[in-house]
Amino acid sequence: MFKESLRMSWDNIKNNRMRSFLTALGIVIGVASIIALITVVQGVSSSMMGQFDDLGIGKISVEAYGTTLKQGVTDAEIDKLSSIESVVGVSPSVSGVSSIEKGGRVEEDVSVKGKNEVYYDNNLALVVEGRGFTPMDMSATSYVCIINETVRDELFQGDAIGNELKIGGRNYLIIGIESNSDNSLASQMTQGDSDDMAVTIPYKNALSLLGISNISSVEVFVTDTSQTNSVVANIEKILDEAFNYKEDSYFIMNMDSILEMMETMQSMLTMMLAGIASISLLVGGIGIMNMMLVSVSERTKEIGLRKALGAEPGQIQMQFIIEAILLSLLGGAIGVIMGLLISFIACILIDIAFAPSVFAIALGVGFSAAVGIVFGGAPAKRASELNPIDALRSE
C-alpha cells in the first residue's frame, strides 16, 4: 500500500512537471540558502579560529602597568609566574623604536622588540630561517638579533644570517629571520601592520637600548589550554600581591576567552542566518500547501472514485501526504546540491577551506520533510474527508 501510494504520488508529480518544479523551487531556495549560509559562516570562522590556533591559543598576555611606587614586574615575579602550574614559560615583552644601520644605510624609527628564548620555543612557526633565541643568548653580553623579512629584503640582498646589523649604535649578529606575517589575529590586533621593518633582540639588551628600567609586559605560555582559567587566577594573585591590590595596575588578555567569545558570536550568527533562511522555507511550504490544495480540488472526482472502490480515508490521506513530502524532499535534495555548490564557489572566492557541514545538510533535509508533513497535512485531511457522492458528481 505504501509503495503504491509512493508510486501514485510520483506519477502525479511527474505528470505535472512544470507545476511541481515551480512548487518545489521555494523549498530548493530555502534549503540551498540554509546550507550555503551555514557552510560559509562556519568556514570563515573556522579559518579565523585556525589563525588563533597558530599563536593565540595557550598564550596569556599580561600588561603590568604597576603603580606610581612600583612600575613593571621584577625578575623574581617573572620567576613566580613561570612556576605556576601548567605554565611552560614566561617571556618578557619589551618594545620601542630605535635606529638600525647596515653598510652606511641608516633606518630610523625601526620597531625593536625584546623577547627571550621562551617566546621562540612557543612560536616555532615564526622563524623562517636560522634559529630563535636560546638560554645562552639571554646573558646581557650576547648581542644577537632576529630580523624580520622586510629588514632582510631591504638591507640584505641574499644571505643575512651570520652578518652583522647595527642596532642603536651597537653591532648585533643576525641569527634568524622571522616571518613578517605573524599570522595570529592576536598579534595583528595588538601590533598592527607587520610589513614594517622590525628587529628582535634579547629583552635585557632591549631594556638598556631603549632606556626602559621595568618590564611592563609579559607573555605567559600555557601547556594545557583547559587550565587557562586557573592560570589566569594565579597570575592575578601574584600581580595583586606585587602591586598591593591596587586597581587597574595590570591587564590580562586571555586569548582563550576571546576565542570563546568568538565561538559564541559565530554560533549566534549561524543561528540568525539560518533563521532568516528558514523564512524562505516557510514560504516554500505555503507554496506546497497551495499546490496540494489545487491538486485535491482537481482530483475531487478521482478521490470520489477511489473512495467508492473502497479506499479508506486514511489511505487517501496517506497518498496526499506522501505526495507533499515527496515534493518537498525532492526540493530539499536539489536544494542540498545547490547549497553545496554555492558554498563551494563562495569558499573558493573568499579563499577558505570548503568543509560541507553535516549539520546543515541534515537540517536542510529534515526541514524540507517537516515542511511536507506540516503543509501537506491540511490538504490531505481535506481530501480524506471528501464525500464520495459529491466528489463523484463533481466535474
Binding site: M1, K3, L305, K307, L309, G310, E312, P313, I389
Partner: protein, 230 residues
C-alpha cells in the same frame, strides 16, 4: 428466501434542502437473493440515485434497516464503510470513471490495491478479469485509446476484480450507442449466468426489460413489477 444477500426494510432518507426537509425515499422495502439480476427503473428525481447510494454504502439511511451480507449498515464509521464497499460492492458507472492516466490493467488493479493484495496477485487477478470481459489484447491501453464500450468493459472488470457480493451498475449503457449497449448487456447476462448478483439502476424501460426482475421507483416509493423476464 434463505439466501438473501440484501434486505431493506422501510428505508427512509430525508435531506435538508434550504432549511426544508425533503423525503427522497419514503419507506423502501427490497430484498435481493444471490444470483439475481434486478433492474431498478425510475425517471430522474424518483430517488433511484439515492437508493443506489444507500445500496452501495456511499450513504446511510435516515431510518429503516439495511442488511447487506448479514451486516447492518449504518453503525459503521467511514473506514469500515470503505471496507464494506471494497468487499461487497462492485460499482459500474454511467461515465465509466476510469483513471485517464493509467492503463486498463492498472485501473482494474485499483480496488485490489486498497484491498492489500500483493503486486503479483493484483496483476494476475486483473489480467484474468480483463480476459473475462474480452479485453486481453488491450490491457496496456489507456482509457483514451479505448472505445466507450471497451472502457465500460474495463470498468466492469474492475468491479468484479474483488469478487463482490453485488454488482451495482448505474445506467451502465447510458453513455453508449445501442449496439455497444447491447453488447454490455450481453456481458451482464454472462456474468449473471456465472452466478453474480447484479443490481442495475436505469431510467430506460428497454434496458430494464433485459433484467430478470424489475422494481419501479417513483417519487421515493418502490414497487415490484409482476412477471419475470428472462
Amino acid at each position: 428466501m434463505e439466501n438473501n444477500i440484501l434486505s431493506m426494510k422501510n428505508i427512509i432518507k430525508t435531506y435538508q434542502m434550504g432549511g426544508e426537509e425533503s423525503q427522497v425515499l419514503k419507506g423502501v422495502d427490497l430484498t435481493v437473493s444471490a444470483g439475481e439480476f434486478i433492474a431498478v427503473l425510475g425517471p430522474s428525481g424518483s430517488g433511484k440515485s439515492t437508493l443506489m447510494n444507500i445500496i452501495g454504502c456511499l450513504d446511510i439511511p435516515t431510518s429503516g434497516e439495511y442488511i447487506l451480507s448479514d451486516k447492518t449498515i449504518g453503525e459503521q464509521d467511514e473506514k469500515e464503510l470503505a471496507r464494506i464497499r471494497r468487499e461487497e460492492i462492485g460499482f459500474i458507472f454511467q461515465s465509466f470513471h476510469l483513471l485517464s492516466r493509467q492503463s486498463a490493467l492498472k485501473n482494474v488493479e485499483l480496488p485490489l490495491i486498497y484491498g492489500g493484495f500483493s503486486a503479483e496477485k493484483r496483476k494476475e487477478r486483473a489480467t484474468e478479469m480483463l480476459n473475462l470481459v474480452g479485453l486481453s489484447e488491450r490491457m496496456n491501453y489507456r482509457p483514451n485509446q479505448l472505445s466507450g464500450g471497451q472502457q465500460q468493459r474495463v470498468a466492469i472488470a474492475r468491479a468484479i476484480s474483488t469478487n463482490p457480493t453485488v454488482l451495482l451498475a448505474d445506467e451502465p449503457t447510458g453513455a453508449l450507442d445501442q449496439k455497444t449497449g447491447a453488447q454490455i448487456m450481453k456481458l451482464f447476462h454472462e456474468l449473471n449466468d456465472d452466478g453474480r448478483t447484479i443490481i442495475m439502476i436505469t431510467h430506460d424501460e428497454n434496458i430494464a426489460k433485459q433484467a430478470k426482475r424489475i422494481v419501479r421507483i417513483l417519487d421515493g416509493v418502490l414497487e415490484e413489477e409482476g412477471g419475470i423476464h428472462v
